[in-house]
Amino acid sequence: MTFAGTFIVEDSLQADDQKLKYKIRLPWYRSLPLSSVTNLEVGLDGVPVDSKNLRVELNGKILSLEEFEPLWDEYWFVQDNATILIEGHPALGDAVEVRTRINLRSPYIMVAPDQPLITNTDVTTTFPVKGAN
């Protein structure tokens, strides 16, 4: 699967003292309902980010992970990037190692009766640190 290869948008990280953001692509070949995003985890230089400090900007909204669940009537279009927003991150050097893990629950591929396939994409990237706009 080279969805891992396209998952993280290269060179997209921006940071200031308060927050950090970067972009990801949907690691799948078709748009999925937002309800498909069942899990999202981020680690910075090996330290997991608390989910209460984690938001996703998509379709003009800023969403916490729990807010994805009821949005089964709204789609993440395959060509749209989502922006990961992190509040209150630790001090960063010239570069930061970011691990991003997402689970997607397929609405249409069943591995057993009424049991959707869950995909797992887990990519670690080293970003140069630049100022946020």
């Binding site: 699967m1 080279t2 290869g5 396209t6 692509r25 949907l26 070949y29 078709r30 748009s31 999925l32 309902p33 309800s35 069942t38 669940e69 009821p70 089964w72 789609y75 279009f77 395959v78 060509q79 629950r105 397929s106 609405p107 249409y108 069943m110 009424d114 959707p116």
Partner: protein
């Protein structure tokens, strides 16, 4: 001068699914992709995945409809098939009811009609009840519904046999199948084997993998047979766990198995992974399957569906060029079949 009819044969084309890497990374927009396809001569048939190509899917705006029709007219391409989905697990709290699932399909059929598609590709998730509910609309629009048969299923798998029974009961001329050649491969794709090795499988297990893959039995049984061979050579389970997908994604049914459903074929996914220097697909006998389609009188669209993007990175190969070479290979089979028919007519 006598006028000669061109011989009856399938129409080639592609599904934009082949361009997944390029599409999701934004290399093309719709117009630049259609233009490239036209210039490369890999039409006339254009198949799209509704949920990949169209932002507003399952709905389509009248603006999109107009630009789509203008675009295909301008580049002299033809809409061949709209791949639609039955997202029965759309909600996290429960599965869709039959009415909801039928409504989900109907909205997509409506879009297919507006966009001028003669066929939609449906998937195994549609139950007989849901199919029965949408058939009147498909009949009204004259749109054929081709349920895709994909590895690990084949034309004679129990689940497909159940669909064939349901079809017989409903008895509508719009109901049919979309064979995907992933069901009838003779070998694992060499590039996939290399990817398995890159991801941790020992190279010395290649022969064991091929042998296990060629066994009869369920995908799981065959994978377990391979896992035992690996264990016997001292390899840990986690070094080969990723190989299991190869038993599901790639089917080893005989090419002839398509024969049973040939009269019901309304669209074709000519799945492929690689084309070698000699112009062959190393894991699928493309000419032989095309001969079978021609001999069976199939004159619908055949979408080249390149899925090598599951093991090739973007920019590593150009899917458009690969499809040009794939069309050449398909034409080899078509021409061989037509030549045989001609000889038969001459001698008859």
């Amino acid at each position: 001068m006598a006028t000669t009819q061109p011989p009856q044969q399938p129409k080639l084309g592609l599904t934009f699914y082949s361009l997944t890497n390029e599409w999701v990374s934004g290399k093309y927009d719709l117009e630049s992709l259609v233009k490239r396809v036209a210039e490369a001569g890999i039409g006339p048939g254009v198949e799209i995945v509704g949920f990949a190509t169209i932002r507003s899917f399952p709905e389509v705006s009248s603006d999109f409809v107009k630009s789509w029709r203008d675009l295909l007219d301008k580049y002299e391409l033809e809409p061949s098939c709209l791949a639609i989905n039955i997202d029965s697990a759309l909600r996290r709290d429960r599965m869709l009811t039959e009415d909801e699932a039928a409504d989900y399909l109907l909205r997509q059929l409506e879009s297919a009609h507006k966009l001028g598609f003669p066929t939609v590709r449906t998937q195994m998730g549609a139950t007989p009840g849901v199919i029965a509910k949408v058939v009147p609309t498909a009949e009204k629009y004259g749109i054929k519904m081709g349920m895709e048969i994909h590895a690990p299923e084949g034309a004679a798998s129990p689940s497909v046999l159940r669909v064939r029974e349901a079809y017989e009961k409903i008895g509508s001329p719009v109901l049919g199948f979309t064979p995907d050649f992933s069901s009838t491969m003779h070998s694992l794709p060499p590039g996939q084997i290399e990817a398995f090795i890159r991801d941790g499988m020992a190279r010395e297990l290649v022969a064991d993998l091929n042998a296990a893959w060629r066994l009869e039995g369920t995908p799981l049984d065959r994978f377990e047979f391979f896992a035992e061979a690996a264990a016997a050579k001292g390899y840990r389970r986690n070094s080969i766990a990723h190989v299991q997908m190869g038993f599901n994604m790639f089917g080893r049914e005989a090419v002839e198995s398509w024969q049973d459903i040939l009269p019901q074929v309304v669209h074709v996914h000519s799945k492929f992974y690689e084309i070698d220097e000699a112009g062959n697909e190393p894991s699928i006998d493309v000419p032989r399957i095309m001969e079978l389609l021609v001999d069976g009188g199939y004159t619908g669209y055949v979408s080249s569906e390149w899925e090598g993007h599951v093991f090739r990175e973007a920019n590593e190969v150009d899917p458009i060029e690969l499809i040009q070479r794939h069309h050449r290979l398909e034409r080899r089979g078509i021409e061989a079949a037509l030549q045989k028919q001609q000889k038969h007519q001459v001698s008859a």
